[in-house]
């Protein structure tokens, strides 16, 4: 990977994750919500495969092995031998299904669910971060540029919000308004902006004394246009760094909430609630909890890495 700066690599990795989430329906080998023959398809280890017959009554029969005899289909299903007359099948040609990461307690394909979960986790994270960055940049800029009572009021609000653990705050909102994806995004965004506000305020304090800002003021520019056109663009580098750290935190918080059942509700897949689904069978089916956790880990590491590379770039 010579010739690429750390930042480029970080951004490329981020884009790859985002692209993967975007085309998840194309990448996913199966429908993430489809349950074929739960009794034989649940808790299958990674790499297992099944033969799926469709029955005449539109149910499905998923078997491990089968032999087509003269009049009947002899098979092994969920470890037990059985047979079924051929007339009951709508087709004697089975569909072979491979489950690369195994299946969950309902016989759904884990790989497909993790891929679809990526869409949920990443898009929620993206919106929450957009809210957080917008709030943080706006309040930091106003606070640093105007000073006075606006500064004091905003910074005290930052103190208050910093003291409340955000998971507890979300819990309270969930109790009052009922858990939903919209609430999740609003609370995660609304409790994630304080760090960004502090950093932006510090930067604006120094930027507002620079000659180009004074020039803009002398030319009669309004407060909003000076902030938007001259001051905030100078903060773009630090904002990018904070945004990637906030995104990592937001994804961690979202997965925690979905894990305890207050975030994304099943049957929608999110990384947190897939891990929760694996809790009941930790020994027999370790893969259900393990793989979505690895997905969180990888995403967070990429975000931290990109953030660190961006801050190194900004410091140069």
């Amino acid at each position: 990977m010579t010739g690429l700066t750390g930042l480029t690599r970080g951004v490329l990795a981020l884009l790859a994750v985002a692209f993967g989430a975007l085309v998840a329906p194309l990448l996913a080998p199966h429908d993430p919500d489809e349950m074929v023959d739960v009794a034989s398809a649940r808790y299958l280890p990674p790499g297992a495969h099944l033969f799926v017959f469709s029955l005449a009554d539109s149910r499905t029969l998923a078997v491990e092995k089968f032999v087509i005899e003269e009049r009947t289909l002899a098979y092994r299903r969920a470890g037990e031998e059985g047979s079924i007359p051929l007339e009951a099948l709508s087709s004697t040609v089975p569909q072979r299904r491979r489950f690369l990461l195994g299946t969950d307690p309902f016989g759904r394909d884990l790989l497909s669910r993790v891929l679809h979960g990526a869409r949920v986790s990443l898009s929620l994270g993206l919106i929450a971060v957009a809210i957080g960055v917008a709030l943080g940049a706006a309040s930091g800029a106003v606070s640093g540029y105007l000073g006075g009572w606006a500064d004091a009021a905003l910074m005290r609000l930052v103190d208050v919000l910093n003291a409340v653990p955000r998971l507890f705050l979300f819990l309270m909102c969930a109790a009052l308004f009922g858990p939903s994806a919209l609430l999740l995004v609003l609370v995660l965004g609304g409790t994630g902006w304080m760090g960004i506000a502090r950093i932006t305020r510090g930067q604006v304090l120094s930027i507002r004394q620079r000659p180009f800002v004074e020039a803009a003021q002398a030319l009669g520019g309004g407060t909003l246009s000076i902030l938007g056109r001259h001051v905030l663009p100078q903060c773009a580098g630090t904002l990018a760094v904070s945004a990637s750290l906030l995104a990592a935190d937001t994804i961690l918080a979202e997965s925690s909430l979905s894990f305890i059942g207050l975030g994304i509700q099943p049957p929608s897949a999110s990384w947190g609630n897939i891990i929760a689904a694996g809790r009941d069978a930790l020994v027999e089916a370790w893969w259900i909890s393990a793989f979505p956790g690895l997905a969180i880990l990888a995403t967070v590491l990429i975000l931290y890495g990109a953030g660190r590379a961006a801050s190194r770039e900004a410091a140069r």
Binding site: D159, P165, L171, M172, L176, S256, V283, V300, L301
Partner: protein, 331 residues
């Protein structure tokens, strides 16, 4: 510097009032109010008025706000809908397990983090350093509930070495003090490690780079010239100077620690405040949740004031106004 600490102490009550205001606004912004005729059509008006008074739901908004503030100031957190007992009684029973879990996780994260940082700094660029640094990076990025799940998988489900849940074993009260203590520790081990892991990793990674910078400094060169080397040099000279920012790092991670204890408590069925708050949500027990949020915030606030004082003790030269560290605790 002392002025800064004084200002923080003076501001603390106002931050508390801010927290109470925030919770009050949230409770009152929620749709519907309890015991209104529309909600319970069969309810006798007098009984409804009595209930509203009992649960503090009568009067105008400003009047309720003042009552909310004064009630919390006197330690009256209202009456829980589900327990039908004062919220403060329920929380008083739930606070010690949470403090035990969060406190021991805090101690463990500092001890393990400092140890790992010293080892990696001394064996810099060798295999041991690489492996430990990689492990710390992974632990730092992993959500604590997932670390907890993996711990459960290995130490409880596969090997059966440690109990998966609860505060103590059945009948632990009948044990002598030695086995009783062992039983409590065995129950504490997994949740404590899961909660401490992200913080320990953050301390280790951060302190490692501080130590490496300190070891390259003039005073460490001088110490080396006088014959100090290896672990003695790191512990005796570099660590002391590098420890100040670590205290502030730990302080910044406190809200994450208290918030993380919520998820860990739910995972390990630990009967603390987080679990009480979680169960209260499922029951829509608003006073209980509000009380838990206020207490969690107050604990966080008090703990961060204590870390500020420790920071001052660790490094008297330091200025707290512009904190150089910004690490977000893994939620």
């Amino acid at each position: 510097m002392r002025g800064y600490l004084g200002r923080r102490l003076l501001l603390a009550p106002f931050v508390l009032i801010g927290i109470l205001t925030l919770t009050f606004l949230l409770v009152n912004a929620a749709p519907g109010s309890p015991f209104t005729p529309e909600q319970a059509s069969g309810l006798d008006p007098h009984a409804a008025a009595k209930l509203r008074e009992l649960y503090g739901a009568q009067g105008s908004l400003p009047a309720r706000y003042l009552r909310w503030l004064s009630a919390f100031a006197t330690g009256d957190f209202g009456v829980s809908f589900t327990y039908r007992r004062p919220v403060s009684h329920v929380l008083r029973a739930a606070l010690p397990p949470t403090l035990l879990l969060a406190g021991s996780a805090l101690v463990l994260s500092v001890l393990a983090g400092v140890t790992a940082a010293c080892v990696t700094a001394v064996f810099r660029s060798r295999v041991l350093d690489r492996v430990l640094t990689l492990a710390c990076t992974a632990l730092y990025a992993a959500p604590s509930f997932w670390t907890g799940i993996l711990l459960l998988m290995v130490f409880s489900a596969w090997t059966g070495w440690l109990p998966p849940s609860g505060l103590r074993g059945v009948g632990a009260g009948q044990l002598g003090w030695g086995p009783y203590l062992a039983d409590r520790l065995r129950h504490l081990a997994l949740p404590c490690i899961a909660l401490a892991a992200p913080g320990a990793a953050a301390v280790a990674l951060f302190l490692r780079s501080e130590l490496i910078a300190a070891l390259a400094s003039e005073y460490c060169r001088a110490a080396r010239a006088r014959g100090a080397a290896g672990l003695a040099l790191t512990l005796g000279h570099a660590l002391r100077n590098a420890s100040g920012p670590v205290v502030s790092l730990v302080g910044l991670g406190l809200p994450g620690l208290v918030g993380g204890s919520l998820v860990v408590e739910v995972l390990f069925a630990w009967p603390g405040m987080g679990r009480i708050a979680y169960e209260a949500i499922l029951a829509r027990d608003t006073p209980m949740v509000a009380g838990a949020v206020v207490v969690a915030a107050a604990v966080t606030l008090a703990a961060s004031l204590v870390t500020d004082m420790l920071y001052l003790a660790a490094d008297p030269r330091v200025s707290l106004v512009a904190s150089p560290v910004r690490i977000e605790g893994a939620a």
